[in-house]
Symmetry: C2
Subunit: 516 residues, 2 copies
C-alpha cells in the first residue's frame, strides 16, 4: 500500500483528453475517506493530458480515495493509502490558537517573517542563494507574490509568467503556464524543507504587465487554479493582497468575493488575510483568520488585538535599509526595536531589507544575501521567545483607556493631587489613548504567573519597578540588551515589588521568570 | 549728568512713608520724556521706606524724568540723564521679527533654550555652579519659575518665598518678600551678563505651598508687582505658565485676564506666551507674541507656524535623561534630532536634562552641572545656524497638503500611474497630512536662494537629491553628521539638480550654500 506522511502531499495523476475551453475549471475530483470523514478535492490540469489531484491528510491510518475525470466511468481510479505519523520537522499547517498561532499538531508557532516579494521571479542562481541565506536565518515565514513585481529596483523581466497569452496578446487565465506553476511549487517545497511558511500574496499593485487589471471573473479563475494546485501544501497562507488599497482596479466587493471564494474552496482552511497600505482591512470579517497589517505605528499592536480579537501580524513596518523612500531606510536598531515592541504587545512583526545595490538585488523583493544588522538581533529575540513558556498576554497600559469605562471618573477623583494625571484623565478617552500611544514606548506583558516581560523601548531609564505576582513564588530577573544581545541575571530570588537597575540606554528589556 | 547705557536699567529711588494697606499697588510713578516720546512707568516699594522706579531707555540722547509719590508735591524728583549707545554684548530686548526673533538693535537672535525651573530656589553654592555651567554652554534662554517647584526630585524647601504670610498663616500677595525679589533680580542680572534671556514662568502646577491657588485678584496683584519690578530687565520674557492646562484652579478667563493685564502694563511689550501640557494655548490671541509649545510631535513645527503665523518655540519636547517618567528619559541623540527637526521646520527647540542623582540635583529643575551628550551637539548646531545667512524658511513638504487646496484633484490625475501616490492623494487631506507627518522624518528649508538645508532625520539614506535654485549660481554642498559633529564639503561648484551620496545612517544633514 502507498504510504504518505501526515501533512505531506498525497498526489495522484490520471491521463485524459486535453480540456476544451479552460485548462483551469476542469472536472476532475478526488474524494478521500477515512471512517466517517470525507474530503472532496478538486484536481487541476498540468498539461500534456495529465490531470493531478493533491491531498494533505491530517489523520493517521488508512485512507480510501476515488478520482473521477469528466464524470466518466472510464477515467477514474480508486485505491487506499496509509498515512503515517509526521516526522520531527513536520508539524502540519499553522492554525490560529486564540490570539496566537500553533501548528496543527499543537506545537507552538511564533512567526518571524521576512519579505521576498519577487524571489521566485529571479534567475535560478539567485533563487538558490536566497534559499541558502534563508536556511541560515531566523525567518520562518516569507511574504511572496505569485505575480512578478514592477517598481523601483524591480526592472528585470521574469523568465516565467503564470499564464499564457491569447491570440490578441492578452493574458488568458484559462491557460496557466504549467512551467511557472511547477517552478513556484519547487520553491514552496524548498520552504517546507526549511520549516518556512509561505504567506502567498495573490494580488498586488506594483504591476507593469496587466496582472492587476483582470475582470472579477478572470480573477476567480486564477484563484481557483491557485487553490486546486497549492492548497495541499501545508505551509501555504493566503494573503489576498499586498496593499489591497493600492490595487485601484478592485473594490470592496471584489475582496469580499475573493476572500469568501478561497475560504469556501480551500478544504484545509489555510490562514487567510488581506494586507493594507493605508486603511487597515476589516479583520473582523469571518473569513479573515488574522490581522496582516502595514503600519508605522507598531505601538498600536495591542489596540488591533483588542479591536479584532484575532492574532496580529504587523506584516510591514518599513524596511531596514538605506534607499531613498521613507519606507526603505530605517536603521537596524529601529527594526529590532519594532520587533520587540510588537512582540511585547502580543503581536508578531515582519522583517524586510532594502540596502541599495547597483545590481538592484535587494533582499526585500529579490532575495540573495542579507546585509543588515537586525537579522542577528531578531534571531536573539526568537531564541528568547522560544524559551518563554506560553504566549505573551500584553498588559493593559497605565493609560490604555476604554472610552466606555465608567471608572475613568473614579480615576479622576483618585488622582486629584497629581496635576498631570488629573489633566490626562480629563481628556476625552480617545484623545487620551492617542496621546499615550505617542508618549510612552514602554510596554509589558506576561503569561499567567509564569513570566513577566517589560520592554523599555527608546526610554533610557536607569531603573524600573516590577510588581511580581503575589503567589509566594520566587522569580529570576534578567536584564536584556536587545542590540548588544546580552542577558544578565540581576536577581534570582525576587518577590513582590522589585526595583531593577538598568543601564539607562535605548533597547533594554527585563524578564522575570518564575523559578522552577 | 547721569549716564546710562541704552537698554540698561535707569533706576531711581525716593524715600517716603511706609505704604498703609498694600506694598504692591503703591502710588509711585515715573514719567520719562525725550522729544515727543513719553513713557509712564509705575514704581514699586522695596521696604524700609524706599520706593524705586526702573526705566529701560531705548533711544540714545537726553531724557527728562519726573517721579511722584502719592501725588504729593513734596515727594517728587525730576532730572535728566543721558542715554548712550549700547556696548558690544548689549543688543536690547528680544522682539519678534516675522516668524523669527531679533534683538531690538536688529541683531539676529536664535533661541537655544534650556530649562532651569527652580534654579533660583536652590542654595547659593548651587546657583553659582549653575551660572558657571551656563557660561560654558550654548544656551541663550532659560525657562525659570518665580514660584518654587514641588514634585519628584524637588523635595527641598527654598530659603526665600515671594511673599510674606499674614496673621492667619496665608500668603499675603500685598506683602512681597523683598529679599526674595532682590535675589531673583540678582540672578536675572547674572543672566544678562551671560547674554541669556529669562523666560520667566509666572504660574505652574507643581506647587505644595499654595501659590497655585490664589484668587484672580491676588494673582493680578502678584503680576502687578512682577511688572513694576522686572519689566525694565531687557532679558525678561513673560511665560504666563508652565503647563497652563495643569493649573486646574485657573480657567480660560483667568489666562485671558492675566495676558491682557501684562500686555497692557508692560511698557516695553516684552515677549509674552503661555505654555501647555496637552492642549496648545491659542497663540492666535493678539497679546501672545509667539508660540511656546510642549509637544512630543516636533515634526508638526511648521504646521504650528502655518496655523498661528507667529514664531514657534518648542519649549518642551521631553528631556535628555534616565529617570522613570517617559518625559525624562530620551537619549542624547533623540534630543539633538529634535533640535534639528524643529530648526529645519522653521522653529526653535528647548533643551532640558534629567539624569537621576541620589542628591536630586537634576539640571532640568535645579541646575548644577550638565551631564548629557546633547549639549555639545546643540552647540555645534548653534554654530552652523549662526553662520547661515538669514532665517530658515521651511519648505512645503511633498505631502504637506492644505485641505482647501483645489489642486489635490490635479495631483491625483498626475499620479495616476503610481499606486502609492494615487491612494495617498485619495485620502482625506487631513488624514493625508497626519499620515505624512508620522511617515517621513526628512524636512528641508532655505533662505531665499542663499542656502538650502535638508535634514534626513532618522532616515538612513545612502544618497539624496537636491534641486538647487535655477539662478546660474554655484553652490557648495556640505554633508553634516549631527552626532559626530563633522562637516564635509562634498561638492564646491554644484548647480541644478545634484545627487549627494550620504553615509546611510541616522542624523545626517545636507547644506548647500551659494558661493560668494
Amino acid at each position: 500500500m502507498r504510504q504518505i506522511e501526515k501533512y505531506n502531499i498525497f498526489e495522484r495523476s490520471i491521463k485524459g483528453p486535453e480540456p476544451s475551453t479552460t485548462n483551469v475549471k476542469v472536472d476532475f475530483t478526488g474524494t478521500f475517506r477515512k471512517e466517517d470523514k470525507e474530503v472532496n478535492i478538486k484536481g487541476f490540469y498540468n498539461g500534456n493530458g495529465e490531470y493531478l489531484v493533491r491531498f494533505m491528510p491530517d489523520e493517521e491510518g488508512i485512507w480510501h480515495y476515488e478520482l473521477i475525470l469528466n464524470a466518466s466511468e472510464e477515467i477514474r481510479e480508486s485505491g487506499d493509502f496509509e498515512c503515517f505519523r509526521e516526522t520531527a520537522n513536520n508539524h502540519g499547517p499553522v492554525i490560529v490558537n486564540g490570539m496566537n498561532f500553533q501548528y496543527a499538531d499543537g506545537t507552538r508557532y511564533i512567526p518571524f517573517g521576512t519579505t521576498l516579494y519577487a524571489w521566485i521571479h529571479q534567475p535560478m542562481q539567485l533563487i538558490e542563494k536566497t534559499i541558502e541565506t534563508l536556511s541560515r536565518s531566523p525567518f520562518n515565514k516569507v511574504r511572496m507574490c505569485v505575480f512578478p513585481k514592477g517598481m523601483m529596483y524591480n526592472n528585470n523581466e521574469p523568465e516565467l509568467f503564470p499564464f499564457e497569452k491569447n491570440e490578441e496578446g492578452n493574458w488568458d487565465v484559462n491557460q496557466p503556464n504549467f512551467e511557472f506553476w511547477n517552478h513556484l511549487e519547487t520553491q514552496l517545497k524548498a520552504l517546507i524543507h526549511l520549516g518556512i511558511e509561505a504567506d502567498l500574496i495573490l494580488f498586488h499593485p506594483y504591476d507593469r504587465w496587466g496582472f492587476a487589471n483582470f475582470s472579477r471573473e478572470d480573477n476567480l479563475t486564477y484563484l481557483d487554479y491557485c487553490v486546486r494546485r497549492l492548497a495541499a501544501f501545508r505551509n501555504i497562507w493566503w494573503s489576498l493582497a499586498n496593499e489591497y488599497d493600492l490595487v485601484h482596479d478592485k473594490n470592496e466587493e471584489d475582496w469580499e468575493t475573493f476572500g469568501k471564494f478561497i475560504s469556501l474552496e480551500d478544504a484545509y482552511n489555510h490562514l487567510l488575510s488581506n494586507h493594507n497600505c493605508f486603511k487597515i482591512y476589516d479583520a473582523s470579517k469571518p473569513w479573515i483568520t488574522h490581522c496582516s497589517i502595514q503600519t508605522n505605528s507598531v505601538q498600536k499592536t495591542k489596540m488591533f488585538r483588542d479591536q479584532y480579537k484575532k492574532p496580529v501580524l504587523i506584516d510591514e513596518c518599513k524596511y531596514e535599509g538605506n534607499i531613498e523612500p521613507s519606507w526603505g531606510n530605517i536603521s537596524g536598531f529601529e527594526m529590532v526595536h519594532r520587533f520587540w515592541t510588537v512582540m511585547v504587545l502580543g503581536g508578531y512583526c515582519t522583517h524586510g531589507e532594502t540596502f541599495h545595490r547597483d545590481d538592484e538585488v535587494l533582499w526585500w523583493a529579490k532575495g540573495g544575501e542579507l546585509h543588515g544588522e537586525s537579522v542577528n538581533r531578531i534571531a536573539f529575540l526568537k531564541n528568547i521567545m522560544s524559551e518563554l513558556e506560553g504566549d505573551i498576554q500584553p498588559d493593559k497600559a497605565t493609560f490604555d483607556v476604554n472610552p466606555n469605562d465608567p471608572s475613568i471618573k473614579e480615576k479622576l477623583d483618585s488622582v486629584e493631587m497629581d496635576p498631570f494625571a488629573k489633566a490626562l484623565f480629563s481628556l476625552d478617552p480617545v484623545e487620551l489613548s492617542e496621546f499615550m500611544y505617542g508618549f510612552s514606548t514602554v510596554f509589558s506583558g506576561r503569561h499567567d504567573d509564569k513570566y513577566m516581560i517589560k520592554y523599555l523601548g527608546r526610554e533610557c531609564r536607569c531603573f524600573t519597578e516590577l510588581e511580581l505576582p503575589e503567589n509566594g513564588e520566587e522569580y529570576s530577573i534578567e536584564v536584556i540588551d536587545i542590540w548588544e544581545m546580552t542577558r544578565e541575571t540581576v536577581l534570582d530570588n525576587a518577590k513582590g515589588k522589585v526595583r531593577v537597575n538598568l543601564p539607562g540606554k535605548e533597547g533594554i528589556a527585563v524578564i522575570a521568570t518564575k523559578n522552577k
